[in-house]
């Protein structure tokens, strides 16, 4: 049963978001390779920009603004706009276009074409995200990354380090987002079959957390192998979020600057004198920003990564608390008890022990009764004819086999304790155990069943 909770609806957005981020990351790896190996310059666009292009196309289809099957014109127009944005991202292109030579600008920035591809991929993720399609994207996309990686590493030349870093970050983003999307899509599909809404159990949280752990486990040694800065893995996992935050901050600052300019103009119109803004020359005279090396920043970067890890853990914990509170608030009585119990065997060190002899699964005698029973077992083991028959009383048995006064005394103790209901003293019990020991060491009984020599 699908949930109608608002929080669950928001959670439902995770699946398309991760799927679109994975699409953007895959395209970003290709773009980085093309830019570095063919155009021989650092990339201008990243995962976030391609993901936004895919997301815009997906949202347009989902909202019903465009329908590629019905109205191809609007669809092509949207793709054209996306391609234009990607193409115009390059300052050189913008200059040529503004300079009236758009034809010269056409071959300049391949990012435009890839934005167009991102838009087309986004349309595919608009309505229904099939778990098989997302899994296929990851399973085929991961080995397919070898092509842009080979292209980039072979053709990057002096930009090889730039390529490695940018492609690594985008690849990590692709793997992380792709696996999370595949997992969530599969959970949703399973939920449809079983009637369990994935948003209401903890599988999704486990999936996200597990994928991040696995990516960290393979990404950190890989980044060291590639000689990348320590935060590369973290940027791969959280990069799109950080970029989004960056764009929001830029947007906020731009808005603040606009408001400040307006306010300045208004204040001046009222005759209020404000300090003049810094001229370019004055800005140039400001102390130059220091340039740091990776080695100088290593400690800070490690702290930064640790901070992010802590942040993730806190988010996970808060999400769990939130889910539990919501569950309690909803008053749902699931009739379930959940607990974490580690089985004993997992903590126990197995000590090899010598195998027990057959038929010796008894404990050592500790009183007269157990001593008599142990003596009976010993006698029966030595000679079957000396075993006590079911109909025999202990006294008759002792008289029949004539095993000596020790057995006579033992059976008397036994009869007193078992049949007479008497509590034997510790001394009597000790003496009985001693009799059992002597009986045990005694000579073997004659072989009643054997033929005479």
């Amino acid at each position: 049963m699908l949930s109608s909770w608002r929080a669950d609806r928001y959670l439902g957005w995770l699946l398309p978001i991760f799927a679109i981020v994975a699409e953007g990351a895959l395209i970003a790896v290709v773009y980085v390779a093309v830019e570095v190996a063919i155009d021989h310059r650092p990339p201008l666009l990243g995962t976030f920009e391609f993901a936004v292009a895919a997301g815009v196309a997906a949202a347009a289809v989902r909202r019903g603004w465009i329908d590629p099957d019905v109205d191809a014109g609007r669809f092509l127009l949207l793709l054209g706009l996306l391609g234009m944005v990607g193409w115009m991202w390059d300052a050189e292109v913008r200059e040529l276009v503004l300079g009236g030579d758009p034809l010269a600008a056409v071959p300049l920035h391949p990012g435009g074409w890839l934005m167009l591809v991102a838009g087309m991929r986004g349309v595919g993720r608009a309505l229904e995200i099939d778990d098989r399609a997302v899994t296929r994207l990851v399973l085929i996309g991961v080995p397919a990354l070898a092509i842009p990686w080979a292209l980039g590493q072979l053709g990057a030349g002096p930009l090889r380090d730039v390529f490695t870093e940018e492609a690594f970050v985008a690849s990590i983003t692709f793997v992380t987002a792709g696996f999370i999307a595949a997992g969530l899509a599969r959970l949703r599909e399973i939920g449809r079959e079983t009637g369990v809404d994935w948003r209401q159990n903890r599988s999704w949280l486990g999936t996200v957390f597990g994928v991040i752990v696995v990516v960290l486990a393979i990404g950190i040694p890989a980044s060291m192998l590639l000689g990348l800065p320590g935060d590369a893995v973290a940027r791969g996992i959280l990069g799109p979020i950080v970029t989004a935050i960056g764009y929001v901050v830029i947007g906020g600052l731009s808005l603040a600057a606009l408001l400040a300019a307006l306010l300045s103009r208004v204040l001046r119109s009222f005759g209020i004198q404000l300090p003049e803004p810094l001229s370019p020359e004055e800005i140039a005279r400001l102390p130059e920003a220091r340039i740091y090396t990776i080695d100088q920043l290593r400690e800070s970067l490690t702290a930064l990564i640790a901070l992010w890890v802590v942040l993730i853990v806190v988010i996970v914990v808060l999400a769990r608390v939130w889910l539990r509170r919501r569950q309690r608030r909803g008053g749902r009585s699931t009739g379930e008890e959940r607990s974490i119990r580690i089985p004993q065997r997992s903590a126990r060190v197995r000590v090899p022990r010598p195998p027990r002899a057959a038929g010796r699964s008894w404990t050592r005698p500790y009183d007269a009764v157990t001593a008599y029973l142990a003596a009976l077992r010993d006698l029966a083991a030595r000679d079957t004819a000396a075993a006590r028959a079911e109909h025999e009383t202990p006294r008759a048995h002792a008289a029949r086999i004539a095993a000596g006064p020790e057995l006579g005394a033992l059976q008397a103790d036994y009869a007193l304790a078992r049949y007479g209901g008497r509590t034997l003293s510790d001394a009597e019990n000790r003496r009985a155990i001693g009799r059992w020991k002597r009986l045990r060491k005694g000579p073997r009984a004659p072989d009643h069943g054997g033929a005479p020599p």
Partner: protein, 410 residues
């Protein structure tokens, strides 16, 4: 090993050989993705325990039987989705649950789905609504774990047999005439034979009393000889023969009226309880398919403390498919029940097909009584009486579910 795994392996080897860490990374990621996709179908079911616990293995119609289902993931690998299809008899009713379809005839599936963290143990509390008499079988259970990143699954079947026996309800017996035992036979108050196990006091010694009957202690205390006095033997051997064919015609047509079958079972259990309470030895004879494969059941009359439970267990196992004609079933009575015993025939159809057999048993020294049930009970009783068999009627009003008493007349 799949093709993509080979590709990943090749990339790792080539990357390591030519010193291309990028290729090494992609090869590693390829291997990782392949490993992750089949992780759960390979290891998901390892160290997963499933248990089903019923609060009792016997219940009475109308009870609610608590049931616990426990699943425990005893390993570090979390299980994103574990589905347990517990096969149960399809008539079972679980409160708040609906049984799913099963590929096995006569069985349904009680489906559970969980997501389990590392070492997580979940106990689910359920309740079985015993609103249907019968034997309810549990097991086997099929555990299925699904891969998280692919559509692969892995299943395992575990036997875990279980059984719940739901006995028929019993109601009070009410006779329409006072001072008469049910079914009209007067209880014996005197007998030629005393029951030496039922001490009733002492009386003055009478010449001829055996020495062992003298109560020596009381004699010494009173100063005159007294003998022990015992309750007279008044025990009856009653065999309840239940005719479970509820629709006229040949038995092999296997037609039945479900409500009448249930009413017969309720009446039989209620009568048996009353007979046993009154000190009679009560047995049961019926010819129908029983859960477990038997075609008929005979429980000899006894007064043992567990006799009512045994009788109710047999009635719980009754299925409404008649396995042999009732007249043929009555043929076993002379071989099993000593003459002088009482045969109470409980039926919801016209007794004409087997009335000759009843007459023969009556002539053989059995006290035969016919108790008619069902909507045409008056006519059926008249048929029995016309054939010379003392007859009575029993009614569960308004029906076997709601009735608070079995009203016996005649």
């Amino acid at each position: 090993m799949s093709g993509w795994t080979l590709v990943g392996l090749a990339m790792v080897i080539v990357g390591a050989a030519i010193g291309a860490p990028g290729l090494l990374l992609i090869g590693g990621l390829t291997l990782l993705s392949r490993w992750l996709t089949t992780l759960w179908s390979r290891y998901g079911l390892n160290d997963v325990t499933f248990e089903r616990r019923l609060a009792t293995d016997r219940a009475v119609w109308g009870d609610e039987v608590p049931m616990e289902v426990e699943v425990w993931n005893q390993k570090l690998l979390p299980v994103p989705l574990l589905v347990a299809d517990d096969h149960v008899t399809e008539e079972l009713r679980v409160v708040g649950r609906r049984l799913g379809a099963s590929d096995r005839p006569g069985l349904g599936t009680l489906q559970h789905a969980w997501s389990l963290l590392w070492y997580e143990r979940v106990v689910r509390h359920l309740a079985i609504d015993a609103r249907r008499r019968g034997v309810f079988e549990f097991g086997p259970v099929r555990l299925t774990v699904s891969d998280l990143f692919e559509r692969g699954t892995n299943s395992e079947e575990r036997e875990l047999p279980g059984q719940l026996l739901v006995r028929p309800r019993t109601v009070a017996i009410r006779s329409s005439e006072r001072a008469r035992a049910p079914l009209g036979s007067n209880r014996t108050t005197m007998s030629l034979f005393p029951d030496p196990s039922r001490f009733a006091g002492v009386r003055a010694y009478q010449p001829g009393d055996p020495q062992r009957r003298i109560h020596w202690r009381a004699t010494a205390r009173l100063g005159e000889p007294v003998s022990r006095r015992y309750e007279p033997v008044h025990e009856r051997n009653i065999l309840l023969a239940v005719d479970l064919q509820t629709v006229p015609g040949p038995h092999w047509l296997m037609l039945f009226d479900d409500d009448q079958v249930e009413a017969l079972c309720v009446a039989a259990a209620s009568l048996a309880r009353r007979f046993l309470r009154d000190g009679s030895a009560c047995g049961l004879l019926l010819g129908t398919q029983l859960a477990g494969g038997r075609r008929w059941a005979y429980l000899p009359p006894a007064t043992a403390p567990g006799q009512l439970g045994r009788l109710e267990d047999v009635l719980a196992r009754v299925r409404p498919i008649v396995s042999l004609p009732f007249e043929q079933l009555l043929g076993v009575v002379p071989r099993r029940l000593p003459p002088g015993g009482t045969l109470v025939v409980l039926s919801a159809r016209d007794p004409t097909p087997y009335v000759d057999e009843l007459r023969r048993l009556s002539r053989s020294g059995y006290e035969v009584r016919h108790v008619a049930m069902g909507p045409d009970r008056a006519g059926h009783r008249a048929s029995a009486v016309r054939a010379g068999i003392p007859g009575g009627e029993a009614d569960l009003a308004p029906d076997w579910r709601e009735a608070d008493a079995l009203v016996v007349a005649g």
